[in-house]
């Protein structure tokens, strides 16, 4: 019986490792939103981030970096403070690394209304 239990014990090993990436849960402004010039752009992820390996960029229609102040990363939150943005379409490009060391990249756009 003891040995049988030992063998059965391997079963849970099947489910041991899996993924728990730092996924983007929410952004303000949201993807596709039309807003007035935001003071901050915040991105909330599903888990705490590794600040040295995570980040985000704000690019204008011409691909210029308009991120403004250095990006702040606090726990699962990335905050951009770009300063006043003229009307147009803006592109946020981000990359996240959680404590599980897996990296995700993504992007979204929003529009600043006149």
């Amino acid at each position: 019986m003891n040995r049988m239990l030992l063998a059965v014990a391997l079963l849970p090993v099947l489910a041991l490792p899996a993924f728990a990436h730092a996924r983007l849960l929410k952004s303000v402004p949201a993807a596709g939103a039309k807003v007035t010039s935001p003071l901050h752009i915040s991105l909330r992820f599903s888990e705490a981030l590794e600040p040295a390996f995570s980040g985000a960029l704000l690019l204008d229609e011409d691909g210029r970096n308009v991120s403004g102040e250095p990006v702040k990363i606090n726990g699962p939150l990335i905050t951009l403070t770009p300063g006043p943005l003229p009307p147009g379409v803006y592109h946020v490009s981000w990359h996240s690394v959680g404590h599980d060391t897996n990296r995700l990249d993504g992007d979204f756009s929003f529009t600043v209304k006149p």
């Binding site: 049988m4 239990l5 030992l6 059965v8 090993v13 099947l14 899996a18 728990a20």
Partner: protein
């Protein structure tokens, strides 16, 4: 690349599991069966050095993964940044120190309790950055890390115990003593098994049920392969326990049981390898 990544992780985990379980069972055998001639573990230095090399290789892969650039594997600046600025890197530095001590302990033949402590600590520390830890309910990382750590330790006792049992069989130990050692292993194994099952279920629940999205085919295929391995192991264990162990004194039975233990160990090591691969595959998209 992913195969090398998984291989480094597999060598690390399998090597430490073997070292931990071997040292743990040696402690038990010396305490309960002082008359038993336990073979010297000459393989342990090779295993400890292999684990040390695998740890460094694994770290360089992880650094490249975090940086999103394969060149980071050999970039001293990025490696140092990863070591200082990431949780995985900081824990890696601690593990590195433990592994150097483990190598020294094997060379200078420290007590088994010391070797078990060093190998167990180096094994359990990887739980802090595991997927189980990251997927912990309500971000209570300690839940997943503790569960995963216990899971690794109990799995290590099982794998490493089989290594030492196989050595005892190879050493032509007396059947009575072999039966005693096997029963002692099973006695402690029961406790390990219960913890292994509970923590495995907890890990499965937090990781798989808590994830969003649909399952990926490759992940399920690897999982299926592991299921097949487990079924084979259960079959072997049943035959060993109900048919071979009671007849150990009969001629030829010890040889057959020895073969089964080696097969069981081999299947277990392959299962750990598949677990290492699963750790790099997304279960859901």
């Amino acid at each position: 690349m992913i195969a090398l990544f998984a291989a480094a992780r597999w060598l690390y985990e399998a090597g430490l599991m073997a070292l931990f379980g071997d040292a743990g069972l040696r402690m038990l055998l010396r305490a309960r069966m002082p008359g038993l001639d336990v073979p010297r573990g000459g393989w342990r230095l090779i295993a400890a050095l292999m684990v040390l090399a695998a740890a460094m290789l694994w770290f360089s892969f992880v650094s490249a993964q975090m940086a999103g650039d394969p060149r980071a594997m050999t970039d001293p600046g990025l490696l140092w940044l990863a070591a200082r600025q990431s949780l995985f890197g900081q824990i890696f530095l601690v593990r590195l120190a433990l592994l150097v001590l483990l190598c020294a302990g094997v060379v200078f033949q420290w007590r088994e309790s010391g070797l078990a402590l060093l190998s167990g600590a180096a094994l359990v520390l990887i739980s802090a950055t595991s997927h189980a830890a990251a997927a912990s309910p309500a971000h209570f990382t300690a839940i997943g890390a503790t569960s995963d750590g216990l899971h690794l330790l109990t799995g290590g006792f099982w794998i490493g115990g089989l290594v030492l049992l196989a050595m005892l069989f190879a050493h032509r130990t007396e059947p009575v003593l072999l039966a005693g050692a096997t029963n002692l292993f099973a006695e402690w194994g029961m406790i390990a098994v219960m913890v292994l099952i509970l923590t495995g279920m907890l890990n499965a629940a937090t990781i798989l049920l808590g994830g969003a999205g649909r399952d990926t085919g490759l992940y399920l295929a690897v999982l299926g392969a592991k299921l097949a391995l487990v079924l084979a192991m259960v079959t072997l264990a049943l035959i060993n326990h109900f048919r071979l162990l009671p007849r150990l004194a009969k001629r030829g039975t010890a040889d057959r049981l020895f073969w089964h233990i080696r097969w069981e160990l081999g299947l277990g090591l392959v299962a750990v390898g598949l677990a290492a691969l699963l750790g790099l595959l997304p279960p859901t998209l």
